[in-house]
């Protein structure tokens, strides 16, 4: 191939933008949903009700031990067999990513909750706060702050993993770049472009959160 020709970047921009919007939308929805459901799962895992803890644990272990691509594909292929009606690629992607990421966020929140010293729970109880109140006002705010860097790392992983939706034909940024690359026969240039975009976004995301972390970090 020899020489590279980066002039292909210019006409690709509208497609890259559309793909990127999809990627960002997917990341955002899956992150929000994943953190909310993940936190609930974490509470279930730590709950004294054994069956609840066991079910949540089994769900998390299952999700964590299969490759994401498989989950994406399975969901897309198998759900219509079960429900009788097909789901669109985007809906399918959103549901799958949320369900999958919830398992990972669950583990993060669980260790976050456990990282709060036992004495804090005691102090909250000793003041007469109930279980739920102690959780909401004392434990979770500290858990989230303690886990902020890990939550970020997982979100970066999620952002990168959205490229796996190629498996079900949804058009994310990588896919858009890929198609432009094929049309103009400049696949390498387009891959380089998407690498740069991913890097720029992920890197600035991690810088931004490092700043944020400094601001919200608990003064000790």
């Amino acid at each position: 191939m020899g020489e590279f020709d980066f002039s292909v970047w210019q006409p690709s921009l509208p497609f890259i933008r559309d793909g990127l919007l999809f990627t960002l939308r997917l990341t955002l929805v899956a992150m929000t949903g994943g953190i909310v459901i993940g936190t609930l799962l974490a509470l279930a895992r730590l709950s004294p009700i054994a069956p609840l803890a066991r079910i949540a644990g089994a769900y998390v272990d299952l999700m964590r031990s299969i490759p994401l691509v498989l989950v994406i594909l399975w969901f897309f292929l198998v759900i219509p067999f079960i429900t009788g009606s097909p789901v669109g690629a985007e809906t399918s992607a959103i549901i799958t990513f949320t369900a999958f990421e919830a398992a990972f966020y669950c583990e993060i929140m669980r260790s976050g909750i456990q990282s709060v010293p036992r004495g804090q729970v005691n102090a909250a109880f000793a003041l007469g706060l109930g279980r739920a109140q102690a959780m909401i006002h004392v434990i979770l705010p500290q858990a989230v702050r303690n886990m902020l860097p890990v939550l970020l790392t997982q979100t970066i992983v999620l952002f990168q993993d959205t490229s796996l939706v190629y498996a079900i034909g949804a058009k994310d940024m990588l896919k858009a770049a890929d198609v432009v690359g094929k049309n103009y026969n400049r696949p390498v240039e387009m891959i380089v472009l998407s690498a740069l975009i991913y890097f720029a976004i992920c890197f600035s995301l991690s810088l931004a959160v490092r700043q944020l972390q400094k601001r919200v970090a608990i003064i000790r």
Binding site: P117, G119, Q120, L127, G128, H137, I218, I219
Partner: protein, 242 residues
């Protein structure tokens, strides 16, 4: 006020409390001491139900702590507790620390809670630190905030678990001063501490524990001058020598 009758507790196989009996009358200060691991923290946490116990009964102001029908959060709201490591909520400012339970548990209005908070900060000499976070205060200041937080709930009695043992020596005094002042105002207090000076000054009785048992439960003067058991004697020797 506090009645502890025949309380025993196990962690798995190991017994950490063994038939403990004692009581604290209204307005009385009782000091609990003993070697590390003897069960002092466990006992005091049983009093407000932070630790469940297997046998025996504890009643606080007539309410049985071990009774499953007891509304524990309500009981705890009336019993203040101060911990060795302060356990202020590090993500909240001092005033928020004082207000949280007043608002959420007692249902006070935010203004009411703030006013009570300021009054108590004044009492422990920390009024100007209301907006700071715990991490910005020295250990002694944090512990005084923790005492104010317990007092904000207008408790009928206070439990202390080694309130000065995590402090730098120069800060111990300022915390003990607050505690002595509390005792003088007639607060009912049960204190786990090794500050024997404090015990001599304000305690009515000393409870000495070892291996989960209450080995000695005696008036202050008698405990220091003529401890009945060998174990208490050697403990006092070790602790007072240096």
């Amino acid at each position: 006020m506090i009645e502890i009758r025949n309380v025993s507790k196990w962690y798995g196989q190991t017994q950490v409390l063994n038939g403990c009996n004692t009581h604290v009358a209204k307005g009385e200060v009782v000091v609990v001491c003993g070697p590390s691991g003897s069960g002092k923290s466990t006992l005091i946490k049983c009093v407000n139900g932070l630790e469940p116990f297997a046998q025996g009964t504890i009643t606080v102001d007539g309410v049985s702590v071990g009774d499953p029908k007891t509304d524990l959060p309500r009981l705890r709201a009336r019993v203040g507790m101060v911990f060795q490591h302060f356990e202020l909520f590090p993500h909240m400012s001092v005033e928020q620390n004082l207000a949280l339970a007043q608002v959420k548990v007692l249902g006070r209005s935010v203004e009411e809670a703030a006013a009570r908070g300021v009054a108590l900060l004044d009492r422990v000499g920390l009024r100007e630190h209301a907006a700071k976070f715990p991490g910005q205060l020295s250990g002694g200041q944090q512990q005084r905030v923790a005492i104010a937080r317990a007092l904000a709930m207008d408790p009928i009695c206070l439990l202390f678990d080694e309130p000065t043992s995590a402090l730098d020596p120069e800060m111990i005094g300022e915390v003990l001063d607050v505690m002595v002042e509390l005792a003088r105002t007639g607060m009912t207090m049960m204190c786990v501490t090794h500050e024997m000076g404090f015990a001599r000054k304000v305690a009515r009785r000393v409870v000495f524990m070892d291996h989960g048992e209450i080995v000695e439960d005696a008036p202050v003067a008698q405990f220091f001058d003529a401890p009945a058991s060998e174990r208490a004697k050697s403990f006092l020797a070790r602790i007072l020598r240096h």
